[in-house]
């Protein structure tokens, strides 16, 4: 396993893909911070002069980076027949699976850290200090690491089980977009107001008062609300939204890393089981 790890890490650092990913995340962090600094310059005194909300917003789009990186990096191994070679020299399938999981987890965590590092570095010189308490940012930072681990574990499972590199690439991108859209949809469902009041209307030019608030039929209650809340906390798309956009610690914040690590564990177990049963080309 040690040999596998060192060989795969060497391939990671020698290839362009990892550095493109690092550059993309660093560039994204730089663009986001410079855009905020521009807003702060134009809209002076309107609350745009701090990096609040910027530090973890990259996490909401990070699924796409993870999908592209994992599918191309692991897919190249499929295409080159490297796995079969590794089996021939006596390595186990579980060891191969875990090697890719460890290497891609390290790579994606580094990309995430580069984004955060660039935002922190640039905002220190271009913007005022955070208004968000340090405790909130620190807790969210550790939660974001767990979310990245879960995103990566999910993508590795897909990439290890589908042997066609192009189909893996498309499947991973569609999964990433699906998780992002699913997270947003569930978030909107959870944020639906309990009561609705229509807009004020005018009759013969006279402004009439707003009608009495009516119960919103789309408001989630009971077991249904608990189920969607669980999905929102469990899936990486929802977690990324919570960490990236809320700006304050939710109740039971400990659920986020616990659920992320559970998802990572479940998908790794399932993926390793499926991978062990496969015939490799």
């Amino acid at each position: 396993m040690k040999n596998l790890l060192s060989a795969t890490f060497r391939r990671l650092f020698k290839g362009k893909l990892f550095w493109i990913g690092m550059l993309a995340m660093g560039g994204f962090g730089a663009v986001a911070t410079i855009a905020r600094a521009r807003d702060a310059y134009i809209l002076q005194g309107m609350g745009y002069d701090t990096p609040d909300g910027l530090l973890f917003i990259g996490l909401t789009y990070f699924l796409i980076t993870v999908a592209a990186f994992d599918s191309l990096f692991i897919g190249a191994e499929h295409a080159d027949g490297t796995w079969r070679n590794k089996l021939i020299v006596g390595q186990g399938k579980v060891q191969i699976y875990l090697t890719y999981l460890i290497v891609t987890t390290a790579a994606t965590l580094l990309m995430h850290l580069v984004y955060i590092g660039v935002v922190l570095g640039l905002s220190a010189s271009l913007l005022n200090p955070f208004l968000t308490p340090i405790r909130v940012n620190v807790v969210f930072f550790f939660c974001s690491l767990a979310t990245v681990v879960a995103m990566n574990a999910l993508m590795v499972t897909l990439c290890m089980l589908v042997q066609n590199r192009a189909f893996v690439a498309v499947g991973a991108m569609l999964l990433a977009i699906g998780l992002m859209m699913g997270g947003m949809t569930i978030y909107q469902m959870l944020c639906a107001p309990e009561f609705l009041s229509g807009p004020p209307s005018t009759v013969n030019g006279v402004l009439m008062p707003s009608p009495e608030p009516m119960p919103n039929p789309k408001y989630l209650t009971g077991a249904k609300r608990a189920f969607f809340q669980f999905l929102h906390d469990f899936l990486p798309g929802g977690q990324a939204l919570t960490i990236g956009t809320t700006g304050e610690l939710p109740a039971n914040v400990w659920r986020l890393p616990v659920l992320s690590l559970s998802l990572a564990l479940l998908s790794t177990l399932g993926g390793a089981w499926g991978f062990c049963r496969r015939d490799l080309k």
């Binding site: 134009i42 809209l43 796409i64 592209a68 599918s71 191309l72 897919g75 590199r165 192009a166 189909f167 893996v168 690439a169 498309v170 991108m173 569609l174 977009i177 859209m181 005018t202």
Partner: protein
């Protein structure tokens, strides 16, 4: 060239991907029609274009991978014929997929579409057709120029997402109001006076003209005005603002923007493809 088209048509029809893309288009159309309130949600249009991206990149990538382009060149076809036949095949396939989307969408969104006058509806449909041709051209050129199937699949999906973000950002910049108001209250919390200030984010002059044309040129930038053109016939008349009405006047020029993009991107793509060695 007719041989190329016939062979490509049969090959694509036999491919299970074509069936998957057709089913996906129909399902997206059904979902879009079911959830249509006042107008179409453009998320379904984006989902359709992502399906196009996956479909085109995988099929063109297969030609690259199996040496299909090289074989055609050996059989005596010019690069121009190969390029044009591939573009034409994908355009026709994707227009069929758009038709399937509309077959799923239209019956369920009948309430939203029925208040729109027939001429306007026909014009909007023509705009969507031209927009689809422009998107297919972009995706086809990208897939023809990137020989790695996996890389072209990822870049195609990223291109659709990039177009979406670009159009959102431009629309956001253009819809920023010229003035904003600061309300001043006295100690009894009663409004004393309102101060009108010019928004520093308002885009004016040449930049506004450039961004407006750019927004109409980007295929997904056209989708928002087109959707608003359906929406204005469903909203209360008092809700219709000047911004929405302006789209009604400009919408007839959208096919020209799409045609311009198609010709430009197709021409650039062909020029690059002609210089490439076919593997």
């Amino acid at each position: 060239m007719s041989n190329l088209l016939r062979a490509g048509f049969v090959r694509y029809l036999k491919n299970p991907l074509a069936v998957i893309a057709a089913v996906a288009s129909l399902v997206i159309g059904l979902l879009g029609g079911r959830n249509a309130v006042y107008t179409i949600d453009d998320v379904y249009l984006i989902a359709l274009f992502i399906a196009f991206a996956a479909f085109i990149s995988l099929l063109v990538g297969r030609e690259h991978g199996e040496g299909g382009f090289r074989n055609k060149a050996i059989a005596g076809y010019t690069k121009g014929q190969i390029f044009f036949s591939e573009w034409l095949l994908h355009t026709v396939f994707c227009l069929c997929l758009l038709l399937l989307f509309l077959v799923g969408f239209a019956p369920l969104a009948h309430e939203v579409l029925s208040p729109v006058p027939a001429r306007m509806l026909a014009l909007i449909a023509l705009c969507f057709v031209c927009m689809t041709v422009a998107v297919v051209t972009l995706l086809c050129v990208l897939s023809m120029l990137v020989s790695s199937r996996a890389v072209s699949a990822i870049l195609s999906v990223l291109l659709v997402i990039g177009l979406l973000f670009a159009s959102y950002k431009i629309e956001e910049a253009l819809s920023t109001p010229q003035y904003y108001y600061i309300s001043h209250y006295d100690e009894q919390n009663e409004l004393v006076w309102e101060e009108q200030k010019e928004s520093p984010l308002y885009v004016d002059g040449a930049a506004r003209t450039f961004l407006t044309h750019l927004n109409y040129t980007i295929p997904l930038g056209q989708s928002e005005p087109l959707i608003q053109c359906i929406g204005v016939w469903n909203y209360d008349v008092s809700w219709i603002d000047e911004h929405s009405c302006s789209h009604l006047k400009i919408v007839k020029f959208f096919p020209l923007y799409s045609l311009g993009l198609t010709v430009t991107i197709g021409g650039i793509g062909y020029a690059i493809f002609r210089r490439r060695d076919l593997r």
